[in-house]
């Protein structure tokens, strides 16, 4: 059952303040992901303090890095259920968890930060994983 929106709004705002575009409907998810070119980070937001309480600060730190994804998108697990399910349908064989962060390039998941890779860690260490992924996958493609 979704939480009271008044409790969740601060968690939504924490991501939109970072520049994430909220996707709250299936149509919005498809519009953003169906023909994705370039890089995009999809943050599956969550109310869970065990992990999401570190995930959002980790994102804030990671997005201060020099190289970042071209698009920042977010869905809210347990709140915008259909939009979240639809977003996960673009994640291939990666299993759902929340919070989690999927880095896509040209429509393919190239890096997944699962919930179990966030739990019990500091925002700084999670951010370090993310920035390493940004450096690897979000730079200008080489002319091979």
């Amino acid at each position: 059952m979704p939480y009271d929106p008044r409790l969740v709004d601060p968690m939504r705002q924490e991501t939109t303040r970072m520049g994430f575009q909220e996707l709250t409907s299936v149509a919005a998810v498809d519009a953003a992901l169906a023909n994705l070119t370039g890089s995009a980070l999809v943050f599956v937001n969550s109310v869970c303090g065990c992990a999401a309480g570190n995930a959002r600060p980790a994102l804030r730190l990671a997005l201060q890095h020099g190289t970042t994804p071209e698009q920042l998108l977010t869905v809210f697990a347990g709140q915008d259920v259909e939009a979240t399910d639809r977003a996960r349908s673009y994640f291939g064989e990666y299993q759902p968890s929340s919070p989690s962060m999927a880095l896509l390039r040209d429509g393919e998941v190239v890096y997944m930060q699962h919930r179990h890779m966030i739990e019990g860690r500091t925002p700084e260490s999670v951010a370090a994983d993310l920035t390493a992924a940004f450096d690897k996958h979000c730079g200008t493609p080489s002319a091979a």
């Binding site: 924490e14 959002r56 299993q95 989690s100 997944m112 890779m117 739990e119 019990g120």
Partner: protein, 94 residues
């Protein structure tokens, strides 16, 4: 740390994805909820039947990379039937 967090004051492992090894060789990966009345409660659990250690390592590495393939939502296991409970991150790193 964000100011917007829920569920303070739980067990140290609450909310952590753990590897629980059963005395019969079965390996469970799930989110630790709590320990109560001599049992641990795991949520969103993936099960690997007893197998050679190489297969177990492959299962854990695959779970680490692709996530927990949930085959049951809840599982309570008596602590007397467990040989270890370790965070997944440590189990794979170790």
């Amino acid at each position: 740390m964000s100011g917007h967090v829920f569920h303070h004051g739980h067990d140290e492992l609450h909310g952590i994805t753990v590897v629980a090894r059963h005395v019969d060789g079965t390996v469970f990966v799930g989110r630790f909820d709590q320990e109560d009345q001599g049992k641990i409660l795991l949520l969103d659990v993936s099960t690997q039947p007893a197998a050679p250690e190489g297969e177990i390592a492959t299962f854990l590495a695959r779970t680490m990379k692709f996530g927990v393939r949930v085959d049951r939502k809840h599982l309570a296991i008596p602590t007397t039937e467990l040989t270890s409970v370790t965070p997944l991150q440590e189990a794979v790193a170790g």
